[in-house]
Amino acid sequence: MATDTPTSKAELDASFSELYKAHLRDVYSYSFYRVGNHHDAEDLTEQTFLQAYRHLERALREADGRPLRPWLIRIAHNLAANFYRDRSRKPESAIEDAGMISALHTTESLVEGREELRAILDGVQQLPDDRREALIMRFALGMDNREIARALGRTDGATKVLLHRAIRQLEGIIEEPSSNGVAK
């Protein structure tokens, strides 16, 4: 990304185009692992970039040269929260929580034949929202602690603890199948 704040619409459009190309896969991956299906992930990704386009000028100014990926993921994070809130008001279209990702991955052949990966994905689904999101950002998007902290609005230290606890909890889930029935 350019570090200077664009002054014209053409420069702003160029910055947006650059941002879009650089982070489409990140936003889509995050959206996919949050909502669990391609259709809603596409909607969420589209809404994220539309909102990013609206606020890009201010974001560039405030970022002061820092990467914009955490800001983008934070937009997706907020939109995903709204997505779940809206769905909870419409029980007829509620998405399934348990097994959502694993079922999808099985269908999509992403983890075909890998029971341990299914167990991991099932375990991730059982984690509290903030821990699950931190793991998605770290492992699906490759974000470092500082980026995750910015995306989640936490300190670097709190994020480090969050990730550590998420991994420990996940280990507990998959190593004690008898208590939760997840791992096979």
Binding site: D13, R25, R54, I120, L141, I174
Partner: protein, 113 residues
């Protein structure tokens, strides 16, 4: 059972490639929203006001700042046109009310502007 959770997480949470059509859809949507805003504002209440261009254009130029939200501003202002006509005493009054509505809707829809 001892597992390397981090290694499994890297494998299980592999990045997902977005469909190619997603980029095309987004570009189309951004372009159409911007064009819609331009059209709505260009044709905006010209019939009701004889020649508002001289003093309305600066406001239009400010509103059409090439953000997707401007389309919403235009639609909301246009949607309340009938009410303003009923409430206005004369053409000048109507024009002033319309400008106020644009400013108000812009603040509401595009709060950072």
């Amino acid at each position: 059972m001892t597992v390397n959770v981090e290694a499994l997480l890297r494998e299980a949470l592999a990045p997902v490639e977005p469909p190619v059509r997603l980029g095309e859809q987004l570009e189309t949507k951004l372009a159409s929203l911007t064009e819609l805003a331009q059209e709505e504002l260009d044709g905006w209440e010209l019939a009701a006001m004889r020649d508002p261009r001289n003093w309305v254009r600066p406001v239009i130029a400010a509103s059409v700042a090439a953000t997707a939200g401007t389309a919403l501003v235009a639609l909301r202002v246009r949607g309340s046109h009938r009410n303003r006509v009923h409430e206005s005493a004369n053409l000048l009054d109507l024009a002033e009310r319309t400008l106020q509505d644009i400013a108000e809707e812009t603040r509401r829809v595009l709060p950072d502007r």
